[in-house]
Structures are given as structure tokens and as C-alpha cells.
């Protein structure tokens, strides 16, 4: 048994390391007094630590899947790739918080600590192989997220965001837990493989009874990825939270939620049957609605942050389309999408954050004539906007192409049409920023502090994959293919 645990722990290094970093950061924060030296040391520890986690994950990317801790978690290439995306997202969000004015004083270090906590929750979710782990993962993720949302304690909107988030979160995890207990009651196990085995021995009547409990289970996950009809919290939370938090929310919890949704779908509903039909039916309606509602709501927004938040809802809908097909191609396309989405969203939020810091708000007009002041940043922003809308030859197009090919490989023509027509709608509001930046006259020539040489070069570095993955995507295809073959087997 002891050997067994040792073996398990050896595959569990990234999570453990993250916990060590988190605890270490708490210690650094409380031991040092408030000085510049502490700040440097704090961030050095954060980034070096996360870099180690990242390297560790990269090294173990190709290892064969194995179940650890008596089957409660599974470490496979799929979960490892998802974790890599989350670690990168967390690192970028922490860097953004360091530079942002929206988060100030001691909050900066708290932000780093809490995001790493959320990331750990996400990692547990990505690997979860039984219902309890899913629940623990979601709760770890959520509780810290509530705190993050109400970060600016003195501001009404932020507190409102935190309250709203926790109310919604509490209810949906309650509903989810109820669904889970029902599943356990019917099948007598919380382990995924045993549930899967049990599912196909049920009579038609029992299956019919079980479907509602799966829907309840889905409510919990759906709330995390903010899909319609569980999305109502998202705009207010995204708006009320500080910008780096919003950036973080639109990446890490989303990707984690998507990972667990994908795993659940592939494991439970991988075989054809009544269960699959009803699950896929619900998912496809939800995906189409999520995408459309997200896009249509994004059109009328005045704040860029809010627009990006709504667009992230619609991107979640797009990714869910890949879940609908329940196949390796679908998994592959979602992973591909997540990778490209990570870079695009980060660049967009970075630029928005620096502009917002200068003016104290992030209304569209603040971007007017940016090309006269920061031509390079304008080009980068235009690239990611076009990419988010799905213009070739950028990575966003390839990601959409992948989702589309997943849909059409299973002959979902209507969903495919909905998906592409949505990208036309999205092009409209993404173009709005480009229009303002390029075609309008400049408001003022004052420099934007955030666009220093270092930040500019970081933004440019993050834009490189947005372009390169659009042209040379064979490598990323290979990577995502390798990560998706084991899922659900």
C-alpha cells in the first residue's frame, strides 16, 4: 500500500509543488515587512515555482495514463495538457496583476496566492476520476474565486460581484451535489469506471430516472464554464472584479470546467445509446444558446472588459460544440481551441488592462486613435481581435476550423452553420475596437505607462503563437492528438 501511495505521489508532483508554492508565498508574505525587496523576492518565488510546475508537466506530457490514489484521480496526457494551459494562464494573470493598477497594495500578493489556489482546484478537476474529486475540485476553485471577485473590498460593484458569485455558486454546487448523490444511489459507486460499467446495465426506466440527475450534475459544471442558462452571474462578476481577475476567470476556471465536462462526457456517454442521445441533445442546445447569447450580448457593450467577458462566454459555447461530437476529434479540437484561446485572450486583456489603468475605465472610446500612439500595440490588438473572430491565417481560425471539422465529421450541419454565423456576429464587435484604434482620431497623446518596453515585448511574445499556430499548426495538432487518444478509454 505504501509503495502504491509513493507511486501515486510521484505522479502528483505538479499539484504538490503548487501547494508548496502557495504555502511558501503565504509565509513570505507574512514574514517580510512591506518593502520593495520583499516584492522582488515574492514574485521571483512565484514565477520560478510555477515555471518548475510547468516544466514538470511538460516532461510528463507523453507518459501513459495512470490512475492514482486508489483510482480517485487519473493522470493522463489530456489532464497534463489542460494543466499546462492553466499554469500558463495563471502565470500571465499574476504578471498582469503585478503591473495592473486595478489591484493595489497588499492585494497584489494575495492575488498571486489565491490564483494559485484556484489553479490547484482546476488541476484536481482536470484529473478527477470520481464524483467526490469533481466536487472537491469545483469547491476549491469556487471558494477562492468568490474571494477574488470581491477583491476591491471598498467598491460596491466588487462586493456585489463576490456576493452574486458565491450565491450562484453555492446553489449550483448544491444542485450538483444532489445530482451526484442520486447517481451514487442508483449505481452504488462514485468511481467513474464503475459508474460507466453500471450505466449500461440499467433498464430503460432506470436510465430515464438517471437522466435528470445527470442534468443536475451538469448544472454545477455549466455554472463554472458560464454556459446558458447558468451564465447570468458572469457579466456582473466579470464587470465588478478587477481586470486581472476577469482575465484569470475567463481562462483558468473555464478550461478546468471544460476539461471535466469533456471527461465526464467521454467516460459516461462514450457508447451510443439513449443516454448519449439525451446528453448530447442537451449539450448541443446549450452550446448553441451559449454561443449566440454570448455574442449577441457582446454587441451592445460599452466596456471592453465586459465585451471580452461576453465573448468568452461565446467561446465557451464554441468549445462545447466540440464536446457534442463525443469523439477523439472533438477532444482534440477543444484542446486546440483552449491553447489558442489562452494566448488570444491574454493579449487582449493585457492591452485592455494597460489602457484602462491610464484612464480609469475601459470604454471603447479609450482606444481611439491608438495607432498614432502605439502602432505596435495596435497591430497586436488587431491581430488578436481578428484571430478571436476567426480570420485566417490566424490561430483563432484554425481553432474554429477544428471545431467545425469535428462537428461535420459527425454530420451536425445545423450546429456547424450556427457556429459559423456566430463568428460573423462576433466579427462585428471585435472589429469595433479595430475601427476605433485605426480609423478614429486620437484623443490625447499622453503616454500610457503600462506600455513600457518590457510589457510591450511580453505582449508581442504572446502574440507570436497567435500568428504562428495559424500557419504552422501541424505541431500543435500532433500535441493535442496525443493528448486526446486516451480519454474515455
Amino acid at each position: 500500500m505504501a509503495i502504491n501511495y509513493l507511486a501515486s505521489i510521484s505522479r502528483y508532483v505538479p499539484e504538490l509543488l503548487s501547494v508548496v508554492i502557495m504555502v511558501g508565498l503565504v509565509l513570505i508574505e507574512s514574514c517580510y515587512d512591506n518593502s520593495e525587496r520583499k516584492k522582488g523576492f515574492f514574485y521571483a518565488a512565484t514565477f520560478i515555482g510555477l515555471l518548475f510546475v510547468f516544466i514538470n508537466l511538460c516532461v510528463s506530457l507523453t507518459e501513459a495514463p495512470s490512475a492514482i490514489f486508489t483510482n480517485s484521480m487519473v493522470i493522463d496526457p489530456f489532464s497534463t495538457l489542460v494543466k499546462i494551459i492553466m499554469v500558463l494562464g495563471t502565470m500571465a494573470a499574476i504578471y498582469l496583476s503585478k503591473e495592473s493598477k486595478d489591484i493595489y497594495g497588499s492585494l497584489k500578493s494575495e492575488f498571486a496566492i489565491m490564483t494559485i489556489g484556484v489553479m490547484i482546484g482546476g488541476m484536481i478537476l482536470a484529473s478527477a476520476n470520481n464524483l467526490l474529486m469533481v466536487y472537491i475540485g469545483i469547491e476549491t476553485l469556487s471558494i477562492l474565486s468568490y474571494a477574488l471577485a470581491s477583491f476591491k473590498k471598498n467598491e460596491e460593484r466588487s462586493s456585489e460581484a463576490g456576493l452574486k458569485y458565491s450565491l450562484y455558486g453555492g446553489i449550483s454546487s448544491g444542485v450538483m451535489l444532489f445530482g451526484m448523490s442520486h447517481i451514487f444511489g442508483m449505481l452504488g459507486s462514485i468511481q467513474f469506471p464503475e459508474i460507466m460499467a453500471g450505466l449500461y446495465e440499467l433498464s430503460t426506466f432506470e436510465t430515464a430516472v438517471l437522466i435528470p440527475s445527470f442534468i443536475m450534475f451538469f448544472a454545477g459544471i455549466g455554472y463554472k464554464i458560464a454556459c446558458v442558462p447558468f451564465h447570468m452571474w458572469a457579466p456582473d462578476v466579470y464587470e465588478g472584479s478587477p481586470l486581472p481577475v476577469t482575465a484569470f476567470f475567463s481562462i483558468v476556471p473555464k478550461v478546468a470546467g471544460m476539461a471535466v465536462l469533456l471527461r465526464v462526457t467521454m467516460v459516461f456517454f462514450g457508447q451510443e445509446g439513449a443516454l448519449q442521445v439525451s446528453w448530447v441533445g442537451i449539450l448541443s442546445v446549450v452550446a448553441a444558446l451559449t454561443m449566440t447569447v454570448g455574442n449577441v450580448s457582446a454587441i451592445g457593450q460599452r466596456s471592453v472588459k465586459r465585451m471580452l467577458a461576453f465573448s468568452s462566454i461565446s467561446h465557451a459555447g464554441m468549445m462545447m460544440m466540440g464536446v457534442v461530437v463525443v469523439s477523439e476529434i472533438g477532444t482534440r479540437s477543444i484542446l486546440f481551441y483552449s491553447i489558442t484561446y489562452l494566448f488570444m485572450t491574454l493579449v487582449a486583456f493585457f492591452i485592455t488592462s494597460f489602457v484602462a489603468d491610464k484612464y480609469g475605465n475601459d470604454h471603447f472610446e479609450r482606444f481611439s486613435g491608438l495607432i498614432k500612439r502605439y502602432p505596435m500595440m495596435t497591430i497586436m490588438m488587431s491581430i488578436v481581435m481578428f484571430s478571436l473572430a476567426g480570420m485566417p491565417p490566424l490561430s483563432g481560425f484554425v481553432a474554429k476550423f477544428n471545431i467545425l471539422s469535428a462537428l461535420l465529421s459527425e454530420k451536425y450541419y445545423i450546429l456547424a452553420l450556427i457556429a459559423v454565423l456566430n463568428s460573423v456576429v462576433s466579427l462585428y464587435y471585435y472589429m469595433k475596437i479595430i475601427r476605433l484604434m485605426v480609423f478614429r482620431e486620437v484623443e490625447s497623446m499622453e503616454p500610457i505607462v503600462g506600455f513600457g518596453a518590457l510589457n510591450q515585448s511580453i505582449i508581442m511574445t504572446m502574440t507570436v503563437p497567435v500568428v504562428m499556430i495559424g500557419i504552422f499548426w501541424s505541431g500543435i495538432m500532433h500535441l493535442t492528438e496525443g493528448a486526446s487518444i486516451f480519454l474515455g478509454k
Binding site: 480570420m391 476550423f401 461535420l408 459559423v420 466579427l427 472589429m431 480609423f439 501541424s474 495538432m477 500532433h478
Partner: protein, 515 residues
């Protein structure tokens, strides 16, 4: 699969080389930038002439000698595959000719010169890509990439209402192309089930030949013919570009707002991409559906001809008038395509080329006038004349204008006549009613052009026009190749007809199998 010649690669990437060179030149050296762009487009033009010389008109289909083939994305069997045949060659030559003339025409652009010329050459490269791609995916990428430089070129250097025009143009075309995207990916997945193809592929040539005739797809519980459904999708995609009525509403805005050179490219080259799409993709891949919808295409073509001409007649803005005349003339191309006979198709491809030259002349001439007058009203909104007596004031300009106008009208001896005559010959037997009605459209065409000419060039010289100077050497220089083209191909169209004859014949015989 790789041919012996790298010429296509060279032509495709030469403008990109120009973009790089321009980006390296400092912003203040505006003349360097202009000369680099000019030099670059002239080299490209020379290369396309070499391509024309080396082209063997007797070879049917793609010229193996020029093929370029590199695997790109192995997982999806996407290849970087270029080729040229008799249909694309005239378009490639037309593109390189018009782009080099437009560089000269944009010489007076003074607002961020560097960006303008860089985007302009970028546009040229992507247009070449559309005309050369043999891989559907590659075709789609170029088809879309082209929108980005166009968006900025209209949006930054355009007229007063440029933002609206740029956005409308972009959204409209994007809408059409995403429908095409769905069709493209759907084709990829069904191609493996086809015994003639055997693997999933984006290869346009492998998919051509009516291989998807018997397939059907289920939609809302109904069985619909696969080829008809996706033919309609692609039809919308291409029709928006042509533009076919009722998808034409973006065109007047884009044309009026775009700077002269961009209008020329838009009317001269980009509209042809739509009809080229029919010839390269929609017709060869779905011949049965094409034959099925031929009546529909013919009637839409007729509406284009008549409606475009009537709209043109009602315009008081010269540029808008020319823009609507493009709608009308592209209607003839659609008629020729719908005929699906040898004459009709040949006429359609020839009309694509000839309309490219004649409409380019018209837009360039309007641009020349605009540089002097800074307005384009034939009749101002308050009812007074915008121009008058230009003929006595600008004799050289008037002569060139007359040539352009008559070419566009289809006067015998000038280029427009031959292509329109061929189209009518091709279509008469199949659609007699439509032919007669379209001839009526031709009449309206003559009417609005002559009426415009009368109002602008004859009568009293109004006060304002007295200060206008006649065409200068640069302007005469860049108009002259087009004058030569319009006159020479009006008398002797064989150089173009010869290269496309075999390729067009191939397509017609394929379509005839399903007739």
C-alpha cells in the same frame, strides 16, 4: 506533383517581398516607398508575362509544368498546392497589370504612405493566392486574408463615410465565406466515402467532376441532396463577391468610399474572384447542382444586368454610377456562366477580363477628375450642375473617357463588344426570353453612359471647371496600357481566347454530361 517551374511561387511571393522591403524603409522616405512598390509590381507583371509566354494553350486542365506542391498540414491532408490553367491565367495577368497601374495612380496618396503601399502589395499577393490555389483550404485562407488589407485600405484612405463602407464590405464578404467554409469542411469529410477519391482531401481537382451527385444529407428529418445544399451555400459565398442581386448592397458603398486605386482593384479584380469561384469550385465540384440551378443563375444574371443599369441611370454621383454599371456588367458574366455552352463560357471569361480593363479605365478617369474637382456630382443635391463642358476644357481626358465609355458600353471594335456578343450567342438558344430582356439592359447601359457623358462633357463650361488642367504625363502613361488593351482585344481577342479555350471546353463538357 511538383512541376519544373517555380514561377507561380515567385509571382505569389514577389509582392510579399515588396511588403517586407517597404516595411524596412523609414517612414519619411516616401518616394523610396513609392518607387519600391512600383518596381515590385512591374517585376511581378513581367513575371506574369513570362508565365503567359511559357503557357501551353493546348494542354487541358492544370499545367503540370507550373504546379507547385508542398504538404502543409498532414493531419488534415492540407497542401500548399498552386497551379494555373486557361481560366486563371487571364485573371493573373489582369491582376498584375492593374496593380502596377494602380501604384502609379496612387502616387498622390500622402496619408501614411508606408502603410498604404505595404497593404496594397499584401492585397496583391492574396489575390494571386486566390487565383492560383488548387487546395480548397489554401483558397479559403487567401480568400479571407484578402479582406484584411481591403478593410484597412477602405477604412483609412477612403472618403467621408469610409468606416461604414469598410465594415459593411468586410461583414458581408465574411458572411458569404463562412457559408463556403461549412461546405468546404463538409466536402472534406464526404470525400473519403467516395470511391474515386478514397481519402479525405481538400484538393479541388480531385473533388471536381461531379463525384458527390448521389449523396444526400438529413436536415430536420428531411433528405436533401448534398450537392444542391452545398452548391447553394457556395453560391451565396461567391455571389456576394460578384455581386449578384440581392447581395450587391455592399458594393456601391465600398466603391464610393474607397480611394481610386482600391475601387479599380475592387471592380477590376476582386469582383472576378466571385465568378472565378464559380468556374473553379462551384461548377466543377457540383456540376449536377449547377445545371439544376442554371435557370436561377440566368434569371439572377438578368436582374443584375437590368437592375444594375437602371440603378446606374438614377445616380447623380459618377463613381456610384460606374459602380452600378459594374453590377450590370457582372450580370453578363453570370448569364454567360448560366449558358453552360462553349461560346457562353468563353464569353464569360473574356468578359471578366474585358470588364477588368474597361471598368478600371472608368474608375481611374473618375479618380483623375476627382483630384481636380474634389467632388463627383453630375448633378449636385441642390440641382445645379456639377460638371459641364469638360470636352472643351479637357480634350485629352475626354478622348480617353470616350474610349473607356464605348468599351464599357460594348461598341463594336472595342473589347466589351466581343465578350458580350459571345455571351449572347451562347445563351440565345437556351434562354431566348432572357437574351431579349438582357439586350434591353444593354440598351439602358448605352443610355445612362451617354446621358452621363452629355451632362458632364457637353454644354456650357461651368465656372468651376475652368480651372481644371488636362491629364498630365503620369496619368496618360498609366492610362495607355489600358487603352491599348481595350482597343487591341476589341479587334483581336485571340490571345486571350486561345489560352482559355481548352480549359473552358473541359468545364463545358463536364457540365454537358449532367445536362
Amino acid at each position: 506533383m511538383n512541376g519544373h517551374s517555380n514561377l507561380l511561387n515567385l509571382i505569389l511571393w514577389m509582392p510579399m517581398l515588396g511588403v517586407l522591403a517597404i516595411l524596412l524603409i523609414p517612414k519619411t522616405k516616401e518616394n523610396w516607398i513609392r518607387y519600391t512598390a512600383l518596381f515590385n509590381t512591374i517585376i511581378t507583371f513581367a513575371l506574369t508575362i513570362v508565365l503567359y509566354m511559357k503557357f501551353d494553350p493546348t494542354v487541358p486542365g492544370m499545367q503540370q509544368y507550373f504546379n507547385v506542391f508542398h504538404p502543409w498540414i498532414s493531419q488534415f491532408n492540407i497542401n500548399y498546392s498552386l497551379g494555373v490553367d486557361g481560366i486563371s491565367l487571364p485573371m493573373i495577368v489582369l491582376t498584375s497589370l492593374l496593380f502596377s497601374l494602380c501604384i502609379l495612380c496612387s502616387w498622390t496618396i500622402s496619408k501614411s504612405v508606408k502603410g498604404y503601399f505595404a497593404l496594397f502589395l499584401f492585397l496583391q499577393s492574396s489575390v494571386f493566392g486566390v487565383f492560383m490555389s488548387l487546395d480548397f483550404f489554401l483558397f479559403y485562407v487567401y480568400w479571407e486574408v484578402m479582406l484584411i488589407p481591403m478593410f484597412f485600405l477602405i477604412g483609412i484612405w477612403g472618403g467621408e463615410n469610409r468606416e461604414y463602407a469598410a465594415v459593411k464590405f468586410f461583414l458581408y464578404t465574411f458572411f458569404g465565406s463562412v457559408l463556403m467554409l461549412v461546405g468546404m469542411v463538409a466536402l472534406y469529410f464526404v470525400s473519403a466515402d467516395n470511391p474515386d477519391i478514397g481519402t479525405n482531401t481538400f484538393d479541388i481537382l480531385a473533388m471536381s467532376g461531379g463525384k458527390f451527385t448521389d449523396l444526400s444529407l438529413r436536415l430536420f428529418g428531411m433528405d436533401i441532396s448534398f450537392s444542391k445544399f452545398f452548391f447553394v451555400m457556395m453560391f451565396i459565398g461567391f455571389a456576394i463577391k460578384v455581386p449578384v442581386f440581392p447581395f450587391h448592397t455592399w458594393l456601391p458603398h465600398a466603391h464610393v468610399q474607397a480611394p481610386t486605386a482600391i475601387s479599380v482593384i475592387l471592380a477590376g479584380v476582386l469582383l472576378k474572384m466571385g465568378t472565378y469561384g464559380f468556374l473553379r469550385i462551384a461548377f466543377p465540384i457540383f456540376p449536377q447542382a449547377s445545371v439544376h440551378f442554371a435557370d436561377c443563375i440566368a434569371w439572377l444574371g438578368l436582374i443584375n444586368v437590368v437592375y444594375g443599369a437602371l440603378c446606374a441611370m438614377a445616380q447623380t454621383d459618377v463613381k456610384k454610377l460606374i459602380a452600378y454599371s459594374s453590377v450590370s456588367h457582372m450580370g453578363f458574366v453570370m448569364l454567360g456562366l448560366a449558358a453552360m455552352t462553349v461560346q457562353g463560357m468563353n464569353g464569360a471569361v473574356l468578359q471578366m477580363f474585358n470588364h477588368g480593363t474597361s471598368t478600371a479605365m472608368m474608375f481611374l478617369l473618375v479618380g483623375i477628375l476627382y483630384e481636380r474637382s474634389h467632388h463627383r456630382w453630375i448633378v449636385r443635391p441642390d440641382g445645379t450642375k456639377g460638371f459641364g463642358g469638360l470636352y472643351t476644357q479637357l480634350p485629352k481626358y475626354s478622348i480617353v473617357f470616350i474610349i473607356a465609355m464605348f468599351a464599357s458600353m460594348g461598341l463594336p471594335g472595342l473589347s466589351g463588344f466581343i465578350s458580350e456578343a459571345l455571351i449572347f450567342l451562347g445563351i440565345y438558344e437556351k434562354y431566348t426570353t432572357i437574351t431579349v430582356l438582357a439586350l434591353f439592359g444593354l440598351l439602358i447601359g448605352a443610355a445612362y453612359l451617354l446621358w452621363m457623358f452629355k451632362r458632364m462633357f457637353f454644354g456650357e463650361v461651368i465656372e468651376e471647371c475652368k480651372s481644371y488642367t488636362d491629364m498630365n504625363a503620369r496619368e496618360i502613361f498609366y492610362m495607355s496600357p489600358l487603352i491599348v488593351a481595350v482597343v487591341v482585344f476589341g479587334i483581336y481577342p485571340t490571345p486571350i481566347l486561345d489560352v482559355m479555350k481548352v480549359s473552358v471546353g473541359n468545364l463545358v463538357s463536364l457540365l454537358a454530361k449532367f445536362n
